[in-house]
């Protein structure tokens, strides 16, 4: 390398291993800085200023956060986000796993069902949100209509108008949309488990529940960890569904941190405060990533050589 140095920086850049490496990394580095680091950095910076739309702000330290800590609506949105993420993720996991198990059996029209399962996922979120908007309509809801036909209720259910109704309604929509990802990923995981393990367990005297508990589930955990980490991250940062369905209403009952942040920053004009709410999500997201990082570490039985 010393010889290359002597030929000047240009020669070093084009002829040495490190120099070439630098050149090849440059496009990716520029891309990352322009499109990931810069917006993230700007967002974090904004959170420490009192920027408003149309007015550059000045650095105000933690004032935004102090302000938020006394803001009841912010704390409601934190609660909503956790409630939404927890319930929706548990439901997506349970239903997704159940569907994956069913689809892993040898049923007729297997491929057809597998394709159908993917539908909620390929439909654009806004479109499915609009469909749910109709389904949850206070007057024309098909659910209310059916239940009324069956004589189970007298008046239409006010799905999106009551705080708890609204919370569960948006959760239902999110679950519907999120199941395909979980189900198909877990199905892929199930298919990596050799059939002969189940057969061996059956010969060892395992009932089908024991086979699930003691063979399938342990072998699936690495994939469950990946899938659920992604699912939790997507749910935690969800925005579109809520924004189309309720815009955070009624009386902020369905505001998530993401929607509240947008609400304050863009329509409300308080860029600094909105950014602060978004920044407040970061510790939670980091915690989820760390959790999955440790959950994802190769288990002892996965280590070592062999086929």
């Amino acid at each position: 390398m010393a010889r290359a140095r002597r030929g000047g920086p240009l020669v070093w850049l084009t002829e040495s291993r490190n120099g070439l490496g630098l050149i090849f990394m440059l496009p990716a580095a520029v891309f990352l800085i322009c499109f990931l680091t810069y917006p993230l950095g700007l967002g974090v910076w904004l959170a420490f200023t009192d920027t408003k739309i149309g007015r550059a702000g000045i650095f105000i330290g933690l004032e935004n956060f102090t302000w938020l800590s006394e803001d009841r609506v912010f704390w409601l949105s934190v609660f909503n986000t956790f409630f939404y993420t927890l319930i929706a993720s548990v439901l997506k996991f349970a239903l997704g796993l159940w569907l994956a198990l069913i689809l892993n059996e040898n049923l007729p029209f297997k491929n057809f069902f597998r394709a159908v399962i993917l539908l909620p996922w390929v439909v654009p979120t806004v479109l499915s949100a609009l469909a749910f908007w109709w389904i949850f309509d206070s007057q024309f809801s098909i659910i209310s209509w059916v239940l009324m036909k069956w004589g189970m209720i007298d008046a239409p259910i006010n799905f999106l108008g009551e705080p708890w109704n609204a919370r569960f309604s948006v959760i239902a929509a999110n679950v519907w949309r999120g199941i395909p990802f979980v189900a198909i990923s877990l199905l892929a995981g199930l298919q990596t488990i050799p059939q002969s393990l189940n057969e061996a367990a059956a010969l060892d005297g395992a009932t089908s529940w024991q086979r699930f508990r003691r063979i399938t589930l342990p072998l699936l955990t690495p994939i469950i960890a990946v899938v659920m980490t992604f699912s939790v991250l997507f749910t935690f940062t969800d925005f579109q569904l809520i924004y189309v369905l309720t815009r955070g209403g009624p009386v902020n009952a369905t505001h998530l941190m993401a929607t509240l942040s947008f609400q304050r920053a863009i329509p409300g004009g308080q860029l600094g405060e909105g950014a602060a709410i978004a920044v407040a999500m970061i510790p939670f997201l980091l915690a989820a990533i760390l959790f999955s990082f440790f959950g994802l570490q190769r288990r002892r039985w996965q280590q070592g050589g062999g086929d």
Binding site: A200, A202, W301
Partner: protein
């Protein structure tokens, strides 16, 4: 322990029938080997015994009970799979103890059963390892250990040695045989290696294209193969088969060579369209049959000679060291008692 009785068993996958009426009796404590070329239905038959494949028609009995509809977990059968099927997330000890722990056996009882099994198989030092950390031969032994711990009615083995190298295969062969002598559990063992079959079996079942060709003790199959398929399959190097006819109390090959006839089976009609079976090892030097040498392969203990008799390619195995050069002619004699005659059309045995 129990006997296994298979009667007129058939199996179809969709419209394709792969087992065409198989009947086998395996006695209590017997070591039966299913042998046959690839794709003849050995694994399918074994999986039906285990309850992993549905029975299309026919009957399987274990002991006196018909088990056709019994799910695998209630059959009290242990199977060693070709790929071992060890549970990757369990240690060797847990793998072996799995069936006991399913039944909720107390820890002490589990240890009491796993330890001796591990000792028999030389696994005592590996009990805390995971399957990934084992060699192929060790995995194979864990798979056997899992079966032994169960103390089942019947052991099933599906080509358990096919992934091992030649040397390990020979030693595992002995171990399995020893194990059977110690436990004397009824065993059904699948292989496509006829040497494995000959050395291990009490009873060999030769299968071909979903049919049983012959059932018998190893030497019975070697000495009196019932048809051309068995004749060609059992024995290594394979039996020489010379086409020709019977004329004037001798066999006359298509190339004109005249060979002595084995005693005919009662009622067998001999004439044209015969096949003469001659084992390579039943030839000896110094007879009156001309043998044209093409290749000489000394193995040390014996000499394999490839050549032709009456224009038909023939292999001979001789105790002596032979110095013949390719193209030379030597003269060999035949042990008439060890020759066979088959009908070329039906393939059935004609000699006694």
């Amino acid at each position: 322990m129990a006997s296994v009785t298979i009667s007129d068993l058939r199996k179809s996958f969709g419209t394709v029938e792969v087992l065409h009426g198989v009947s086998i009796d395996i006695e209590d404590g017997e070591f039966a080997v299913l042998v046959g070329p690839s794709g003849c239905g050995k694994s399918t038959l074994l999986r039906m015994l285990a309850g992993l494949e549905h029975v299309t028609s026919g009957e399987i009995r274990i002991g006196s009970e018909v088990v056709n509809e019994l799910p695998p977990k209630d059959r009290d059968i242990a199977m060693v799979f070709q790929n071992y099927a060890l549970y990757p997330h369990m240690t060797v000890a847990e793998n072996m103890a799995f069936s006991l722990s399913l039944k909720g056996a107390p820890k002490a009882e589990i240890a009491e059963k796993v330890r001796p099994a591990a000792e028999i198989l030389g696994l005592a030092k590996l009990l805390d390892r995971y399957p990934r950390q084992l060699s192929g031969g060790q995995r194979q032994r864990v798979a056997m250990g899992r079966a032994i711990v169960r103390d089942p009615q019947v052991f099933l083995f599906d080509e358990p040695l096919s992934n091992l190298d030649a040397k390990l295969r020979v030693s595992m062969r002995t171990e399995i045989k020893n194990l059977h002598q110690r436990l004397s559990t009824t065993t059904v063992y699948v292989t496509h290696d006829q040497i494995e079959a000959m050395t291990m079996a009490d009873k060999i079942v030769v299968m071909h294209d979903g049919r049983v060709e012959q059932i018998g003790a190893p030497l019975e199959l070697y000495d009196r193969p019932a048809n051309l398929f068995v004749a060609g399959f059992i024995g290594s190097p394979a039996m020489n088969l010379l086409p020709g006819r019977v004329d004037g109390g001798r066999f006359v090959g298509d190339g004109g060579v005249s060979l002595p006839l084995p005693p005919p089976a009662p009622g067998a009609s001999a004439g044209a369209g015969m096949i003469y079976g001659l084992r390579p090892e039943s030839m000896s030097l110094g007879g009156d049959i001309p043998f044209r040498v093409e290749v000489v392969e000394p193995t040390g203990s014996e000499t394999h000679v490839m050549g032709s008799v009456g224009g038909v390619p023939v292999v001979g195995v001789f105790r002596e060291r032979i110095a013949a050069r390719p193209g030379e002619e030597i003269h060999v004699g035949i042990d008439v008692g060890a020759t066979h005659l088959f009908d070329a059309g039906s393939g059935m045995r004609l000699s006694a």
